[in-house]
Amino acid sequence: MKRILLAAVAAFAAHAASAQSYPTRPVTMIVPFAAGGPTDVIARIVTEHMSRTLGQQVIIENVGGAGGTVGITRASQAKPDGYTIMMGHMGTHGAAPALYPNLKYDPAKSFAPIGLAAGTPILIVTKKDFPASDLKGFVEYLKTNGAKLNEANAGVGSVSHTTCSLLQSLTQAKFTRVAYRGTGPALNDLVAGQVDFGCDQIVNLVPQIQAGTIKAIAIATPERSPSLPDVPTTKEGGLPEFQVSAWNAIFAPKDTSPEVVKALAGALDKALDDDNVKKRLHELGGTIPDKQGRTPEALQKLVESEVARWTPILKAAGAVAN
């Protein structure tokens, strides 16, 4: 009896100690996309600094598939001890409920949000000899000649597809949508002029726009991006409702203890204040949330509003995956 008691006390003490000094071993962050994509790059930049604050390595595990929902499903079912966390994004925690009726998680309920890491603004781009050069002319051309135009996207559920669904719903234009396997091939055909326009994250596009191989029409953020100061915003161009950024945020599974959430949120906050991290995210054209915008509470609100925003748009676009 005494021995059992002792063991229990020891176990309790060990547990208490581990709770106090989280983390005591490496933390796995599941990135639900292949290595090398925008979300993966952001995750790697941010976790490199977070590892230093936490005193434990944050290891990235790429679990791709089904628009990121495979990885997020798995991470949501992990033990909520803070040793498995994930990088979710606009698709997995905003568009997914509309796209995947059999989704095994609820973006707003199955997670303990940690905080927003970075957003990458969305641009409307066209092939270089597109007849219109400003947003007004573009929208007009889209409305009158929509039936002739082809839009390139990276497949149902991708950021480029989701955001262009918003453009379609705002302009009510009837352009034809052409799906590619990834943004690379889509960009290839846009540069080659096989398709007419598309919406995509700024990181992929800056060098092409600077080289003049494609034309930037507008950027869907409230302010111009320092990476492309000449590209007007959608607000300036007369389509202020087209505001969209592909956000990436860290989540833990539901029921993760408040201490762990605090430790992770603190580490994220510190990482986003670091000059080197800032510089690298800015190089990607990424936007860094302000102090208010990167709290767990702000992320919870963002997820709820994003799900509410995308569901009707995507349902209207008829894009439903099983």
Partner: protein, 515 residues
């Protein structure tokens, strides 16, 4: 010409650059860091490539974090080394244990493994290394000299052209077949059918997934290849005690002799050319290279019946094509900033992590990186030859290991390899499933190679067909009206006729005999 030499000089000076490095206990010593990274990349790539299932994508992804500490040029030189190192290593597994690690190594299993069974494993490995080295050297000069203008080729290829190219590719598959053409066509169709499993790209609807999440992204190539080739081969060997000893009894010469070299010289040159051109194409055109090379060698051979029974040309040509394509697939990435396949997409990620966003300006803005990488490719190929030729003896000795010890090890590596890609237990179950299917296919005299080609091409073909028709608003004429697409289709028809001719002639002969 002078400009080219200047660029190459810049490249080589970048590669041979001495960087002062703090070594504890020894103080600061200048060491050729980039050369070392290139060597490490090639070595790791070779080792990883040898492990079945762990392809370059998985290994580059795993090793990406290590490169954070280096400057971008060194990091990319190392990652590129892993990539073409893995191509080398992949053919080793294909030859020794009949497991193609990648789509491009499928062809190598056809004659490479047959050579190994005849005790010529060393020769097969040797000629693969030599052919790859030659291809690598030519491709390096090719990229340096005409890479930039050739970029246009990637842009001419739209969905319609790509579809026609794939049709041509399927004709290759018919020619690949060893036995009955009817059975080969059946296998191709099964392969195409299997490639349609998964979420549809255009509509997002799931097809033939039975509501299972693990099927929603379709069947993975490596699972299919490892099951149909690797596991099935093990099953077959286990029920046939005679054949399984053949491999370990006779070892034979370790390196190719003059006769082998003479037979391989022209196939290597042709393979390099074909692979190099196809490698530039977007959307993984490089997979067609080895298939095309094999087809051409078989057609040109005086005695095509040797193919599939250990013809050295069937290893030399495709292996050269494979390596040339691996290298020229860097062209769209370096000159356009657009990745043509999954590995290159990963390289884009690696570059962005290091603060270099690839685009048309990399060539001028980061000239030392651009030319340094090109120069490192040549250095890397030389290293691979140095690493691989001595290893040939080691690999061949591995075949002496009794099969009862070998096969559990192969199985274990297959399982670990496949699990490491997506960390999905279902993938491991899948190789067992495909292994059983592959076993019955062999027993019934069906070839798995056409199935795999159909699988690889089927998806590309379907997607590009639909894309082309969407863009042309349903007009089929687009495939003929677009000049390049029309030419490719015409070539496909001619190829098919040529392929069927011998069988027509044969039946004519038979008619003659009956007379």
């Amino acid at each position: 010409m002078g400009e080219l030499l200047g660029h190459l000089a810049l490249g080589f000076s970048t590669v041979f650059n001495f960087v002062p490095v703090d070594i504890p206990g020894l103080g600061t010593i200048p060491i050729p860091l980039n050369i070392l990274l290139c060597f490490v990349g090639c070595l790791v790539g070779t080792l990883v490539g040898v492990l079945p299932g762990v392809g370059p994508v998985a290994s580059i992804a795993m090793l990406l974090p290590i490169t954070f500490k280096f400057d971008p040029t060194g990091a990319l030189i190392m990652l590129a080394g892993i990539y073409y190192g893995a191509q080398y290593g992949g053919s080793t597994t294909a030859i020794l244990v009949n497991i193609p690690g990648e789509a491009t190594a499928v062809v190598t299993t056809l004659d490479g493994h047959q050579m190994a069974k005849k005790g010529r494993a060393g020769v097969a490995l040797g000629i693969a290394a030599i052919g790859s080295f030659f291809a690598g050297c030519v491709a390096t000069v090719f990229i340096a000299a005409v890479g930039a203008p050739l970029t246009k080729l990637a842009l001419i290829f739209g969905p319609a052209e790509y579809f026609s190219l794939m049709v041509m590719g399927l004709v290759f598959a018919v020619v690949l077949a060893r036995g009955s053409i009817l059975k080969a066509i059946a296998m191709i169709l099964v392969g195409i059918l299997m490639s349609t499993v998964g979420t549809d790209l255009e509509t997002g609807q799931e097809r033939m997934t039975f509501g299972q999440q693990f099927l929603s992204d379709g069947i993975d190539f490596s699972t299919l290849a490892m099951g149909l080739f690797g596991i099935a081969e093990i099953l077959r060997n286990l029920d046939n005690t005679e054949t399984r000893d053949v491999v370990r009894k006779a070892i034979g010469r370790l390196l190719p002799n003059m006769q082998d070299m003479k037979e391989s010289a022209l196939p290597i040159v042709r393979g390099t050319f074909i692979g190099g051109i196809l490698g530039i194409l977007p959307g993984n055109g490089a997979v067609l290279g080895p298939f095309a090379s094999y087809t051409i060698e078989k057609k040109l051979a005086k005695d095509p019946s040797r193919f599939g029974r250990g013809a050295i040309e069937g290893v030399a040509g495709p292996e050269s094509a494979n390596n040339a394509g691996a290298q020229t697939s860097f062209i769209p990435l370096l000159t356009l900033g657009i990745p043509p396949n999954a590995v290159m997409a990963l390289m884009v990620g690696a570059m962005t992590i290091h603060g270099i966003v690839p685009g048309p300006q990399v060539m001028t803005k980061n000239a030392d990186l651009f030319w340094g990488m090109i120069a490192s490719m040549w250095v890397g190929n030389l290293m691979l030859l140095v690493i691989n030729l001595p290893m040939v003896g080691l690999w061949v000795k591995l075949l002496k290991v009794p099969y009862r010890l070998m096969f559990p090890a192969i199985m274990m590596f297959c399982c670990i390899g496949i699990y490491s890609i997506n960390s999905l237990p279902t993938d491991v179950m899948f190789i067992a499933f495909f292994g059983v299917i592959g076993y019955f296919l062999i027993k019934l005299g069906f070839e798995p190679a056409p199935l795999l080609l159909g699988f690889v091409l089927g998806k590309l073909m379907e997607e590009n067909l639909r894309r082309a028709l969407i863009i042309s608003r349903g007009d089929m004429m687009t495939f003929i009206e677009r000049p390049l697409s029309g030419v490719l289709l015409a070539v496909a028809v001619i190829l098919l006729v040529v392929a069927l001719l011998p069988s027509i002639r044969k039946s004519r002969d038979e008619v003659f005999v009956e007379d």
